[in-house]
Symmetry: C2
Subunit: 224 residues, 2 copies
DNA sequence: CGTCTATTTGAGCATAGTCAACCGACGTGG
DNA sequence: CCACGTCGGTTGACTATGCTCAAATAGACG
């Protein structure tokens, strides 16, 4: 039995035997959500885990006072809901039509228990989530506005490098970027202008950026 | 066989049977490090996990450019090195004489695999680490200097509430606080002065703060 | 072509950073 | 015992970065 092809492009399923893949397939549900739809509501009980097949999601956190912190953007192959707490700590909304694989968390964890490969993969994913959050923490704590923007652009660039040329597509709005980097939209806009004047990027359109000097961009973005 | 008393005050060991505790005791090493000593070096391979018995540790991250982000302070009962990656993402240094329980990571993970209670506990700890990091991320992204300081004071206050009165002890230096909150020492100092003038705190000495109005402090600190 | 929304730009302001002086605690050595 | 130096912390003056408010512009879409 050959598992669906989409299973393969995700790190979660790397190195699994056919039997393990069959078990996963058995508990895997397909789900498709449209742009702007909410997948996970902050403080709801964590009942599912998801793998993004296609599309883009935004993970965010809202405070009582209405302030918002965007935690991450998730693309094809990313994992959602791999929380170790019983409640989701964040909301997840889609930025455009998104296709997902959905697993009941309890069933998924049971399978993870049975397969050492799957366990290692899941552990690695959890580690990457934390590592990525620590990178962002460093950027917010130590970097100036234009450097934070480089951090985001470099991150997206790395994600999309295989897909095409040096152009990157920014699916999210300026407000989303601002809330991700701990800035205002105006400052984000000025940061774009600054990187443009530094000849690091070209602003093809508001949502399409061309990287002109990736080395310096990465240097400014660097958190190591 | 009664396990050593120190095992009990840590969430990691909650609800374990005597046999599980005996297994843990068998692989547990005691370690004592003095103030300023480094326990973990950034980018070294993750070979051990630790539980703090007494003392205080600081978890930090250094970049090539010399900038530093303090990630957390760890006190009695906290866990160190519960990374899911093969390398430590951070350094850990002690702020004062510190006593630790040390486990070989591989052996520890093997025991975790065998005990569902221990597994649940370890998972919860991982979740708390991420939750705490997300709180800090929110504070750095969305809060002003004096609010960030409230965030730290409230956090330490909650930690120490059982121990004594409303006084809290700040073991770390102003520079450590600054690098934790993404500020400079001067701004931290002014933030202290501001909270004092707001009558939220009393500065008994540079490293001893008395909370005068915990409700407002918590309100300013709140990330929810 | 007009309307709506997202984004950019500008002017002024507030917050935090920089640089420098100062203060107080502590320890050393005369 | 006191003068001196060091270190960590505070305070002040000035600067720069980013925020606020407002206006202009650019697309998207009917």
């Amino acid at each position: 039995m050959k598992p669906p092809e989409t299973f393969f492009h995700s790190r979660l399923f790397r190195g699994l035997g056919n039997e393990e893949l069959a078990d996963l397939t058995a508990i895997c549900q397909r789900r498709r959500i449209s742009a702007g739809e909410q997948l996970i509501k902050q403080h709801s009980t964590a009942q599912n885990v998801y793998v993004v097949v296609s599309g883009t999601l935004m993970i965010e956190r809202l405070s009582r006072s209405g302030r918002r912190q965007v935690i991450a953007f998730a693309y094809s192959g990313d994992y959602i809901g791999f929380t170790n707490t019983e409640e989701y700590e964040y909301s997840v909304v889609s930025l455009r039509e998104t296709e997902l694989q959905s697993f009941v968390r309890r069933e998924f964890l049971a399978l993870v228990d049975q397969s050492s490969t799957l366990k290692a993969n899941a552990r690695q994913i959890g580690g990457n989530v934390l590592a990525q959050t620590l990178d962002q923490l460093f950027a917010l704590g130590q970097k100036k506005a234009h450097e934070r923007l480089c951090f985001l652009l470099a991150q997206i660039g790395r994600r999309q490098c295989g897909t095409q040329n040096a152009d990157i597509e920014l699916i999210m709005s300026r407000q989303d970027i601002a809330d991700y980097l701990g800035l205002t939209i105006e400052t984000v806009s000025r940061a774009f202008a600054r990187l443009k004047s530094m000849k690091l990027i070209e602003i093809v359109s508001a949502h399409r950026i061309r990287i002109l000097d990736n080395a310096i961009l990465e240097e400014l973005a660097s958190v190591h």
